[in-house]
Symmetry: C2
Subunit: 530 residues, 2 copies
Amino acid sequence: MTLYWYGNDMIVVDAGLKFPEEDMLGIDIVIPDITFLVENREKIRGIFLTHGHEDHIGGLPYILRELNVPVYGTRLTLGLVENKLREHGLLDTAKLNVMDGRSNIQAGVFQVSLFYVNHSIPDTTGFAIETPEGLVVHTGDFKFDQTPVDGRQADIHKLAAFGARGVLALVGDSTNAERPGYTPSELTVGEKINEIVANATGRVIMSTFASNIHRLQLMIRAAEQHGRKVAVVGRSMVNNIQTSLQLGYLEALPETIIDADDVNRIDPEKLVILSTGSQGEPMSALTRMARAAHRKIEIMPGDTVVLASSPIPGNEKYVARTIDQLFRAGANVIYRGVHASGHGSQEELKWMLSLVKPKFFLPVHGEFRMQRTHANLAMEVGVEEENIFITELGDVVEFENGRARLGGKVPAGTVMIDGLGVGDVGNIVLRDRKLLSQDGILVVVVTLSKATGHILSGPDIISRGFVYVRESEALLDEANKLVESTLIKLVTDNVSEWSSLKTAVRDSLGRYLFEQTRRRPMILPIIMEA
Amino acid sequence: MTLYWYGNDMIVVDAGLKFPEEDMLGIDIVIPDITFLVENREKIRGIFLTHGHEDHIGGLPYILRELNVPVYGTRLTLGLVENKLREHGLLDTAKLNVMDGRSNIQAGVFQVSLFYVNHSIPDTTGFAIETPEGLVVHTGDFKFDQTPVDGRQADIHKLAAFGARGVLALVGDSTNAERPGYTPSELTVGEKINEIVANATGRVIMSTFASNIHRLQLMIRAAEQHGRKVAVVGRSMVNNIQTSLQLGYLEALPETIIDADDVNRIDPEKLVILSTGSQGEPMSALTRMARAAHRKIEIMPGDTVVLASSPIPGNEKYVARTIDQLFRAGANVIYRGVHASGHGSQEELKWMLSLVKPKFFLPVHGEFRMQRTHANLAMEVGVEEENIFITELGDVVEFENGRARLGGKVPAGTVMIDGLGVGDVGNIVLRDRKLLSQDGILVVVVTLSKATGHILSGPDIISRGFVYVRESEALLDEANKLVESTLIKLVTDNVSEWSSLKTAVRDSLGRYLFEQTRRRPMILPIIMEA
């Protein structure tokens, strides 16, 4: 999420979510902290969306809940947004405005137009933002594909015109900054897909990102060219294909797509199945098929299974596991070489910099090392080192009278969502979940007499996630005796303060268990009074 | 771990450990289940170790504890084993026997000799096992390096002689079976290291696997060739280098290696630091240096940091995080292209098969897809498909009179080690840890009167890892009231059976919390009597 701010006017570009890191136990998704937006709600003139990927639109429902400002984007992007808002019950009140190549939106002092770029989802754009200080070019996610699947080239002439006019700043996608050379055209993936379908003797099951409409188009074309029908499985795949067909972003002959329920009525060599699961997601269609746990489809020897994707960093083991299961099920598995990135490599990044010729440059949308490397590329093509800003969440870059500088920070960060709760799981809860996940918990309960302070009932020790009780009875019996003697001693010494009692139990029990087991379960002493 | 068994004689090849999968919460290491070995202890004639990597020797202490049988291996391998056994207090009673290229060990009916191969640790061997049914060649982990760093070529002439004589079965390393072509020589890594050290203006900090003595030798040579001293940080790195120098597997001039405490007295351009942390391990030296948390060394602009390694599958995110932090600290980070695998690729695997010309083939040491691909390679070079066995843990392959078949299973599997406990953390404990890690725990405590069954104290609800209490007081208050009314109703209806009370509390509270939060914390109802 990027905020452009001039005086009393603000516009927001993108409103994404990200998936939790491994140590964010139990967290479902992570969205931007919009405290600053909420504090300045009366200034916000609109939210502009570059494209329909989750890391650019996934956070929108949570934001519109708080600030129902106008939303702008291309038709497919807003089509995917509508589905989301419907799920959140926000569609009726949302103000969605479709933009295209001729749009020129006045949003406060800002004048926003778009330029098309290529990416792994159609209808992807960057924004040209006219400001009183000059023109800012916000690339969004991009690649330059000279042979795009949908025939729509990137707006290189618009970019050249911006550069000729004079651009104040370029805010650019750093995702593939570390990769030398060029990113291959999506058409090369189409050639591989055609080859695979042409040579397959049985069914072909293909999996890719459900949002990669271009690649799904290539798969549908390949099926049609080889006289095969297409069935679709996996909720997100079914939804995306439906939406894309309706809006005209996907083309298929009327008889091509059949119902998934009918797959077993088609000859194997006349069938292509498009499926979710290219990232090894546990509940996805392909993963369930591989485990023979899918209601409609089971992987069989003779099947050709194609993972037309690349593992997102962090998912490598899940993907490997799925590939292994597919092999075991007897499929011929193709899992390398049927992919092209949706982001430009170093040469494309240099093209963007050279076309736009910005005075200032902000490499964004990447880890620090990618930003750093992108900054080096910018210097190679002539941007001054002191005019490059490598920013973090919350950083402000101020432009005034042709100069730019880092101008402090605004409240920013991430908010974790768990179930229905937004932001109610903080560091303490995560820390506790981490402790619990490592060595479990011991609950020590005792009831003391209100009158005398003596033990009326207990102590009882209940453990979860610590040891298998049947095998460790002796250990827990000893632990129980230890707690009992600890408490009796304190009560005899007239220590009645509960916090002291709890601390004593926690310390002595913790020490004992660590000596015996080298483990540190969470210890929860509970004192009742009766 | 592989077991060779003939009549009353058994020998074991390798005794490794593996690191836990992500879902094995709180587990430290995983070792083989040796139930079958223990049941047959009087038959076991010896344990033969191919090389000193953890996945081949890490489990040995746990096995020797139960079965103190003779152990055989090369000098460096046993040197590393000694360190382990010393830590476990088993060194005094262990029977360690050094083998070399001329050894011929009679172990029951088996006659075991070794052949040297190349790998990412010196003194790596395979075993030639003479059995009454014929000769079995057990490759261990191997590559063929035509220009090995330590000058010791693989014993290709021995392998050729085996093949000429006639080999019953080959048991072969499948790790890189999916990789086409050849694995580059370790010397190519040396060339890159030399280039980096030659061009570096400040300090050079290099990290690789602490066991890759070959690569450490290349780094030491490069330092000496460029007039630099070498300091070593990281416990495993210090230990391995010490052991290797003592045993003669590493060569360094007397003045080359300096104390890590003296690094700040040496000019930066005269210093090479060898460090642990190439896998982004959180507590390793390099990771702490990157976070400015190392006692002796801090990363500074001007430093060249080299990660001479490749992320082990599963570690990609940790490595990326470390690289990012190194970039932020201002270092020039080189993290690609300074590595060569220790395992042969497809061409080397075919060389092994062609030299040995086995009748039967067992592809091992890899996931199913690697075994499957290795089997395909074997068929390419002429092994009959029905003579190839893709095995899983516990599978038995029987050889009799020149024939072979799958012969059932023996008890086998994995045992998880957590702290001092061996095998006492089973599936139930892991499942509980998983539940706790996702949504935490609610403990509901109430004290009932022994006499009347009425509530004397409570209910009290204590939560950990569920919600941040201060923000969720209302929710927990409501939950409390719900539990109270549930219990009162049951007590009034004369339901006194504790299991019924607990179930009722768990059900009603669970339902309520899921409706309110879409989360499912573990619910632990505890009833005390007084």
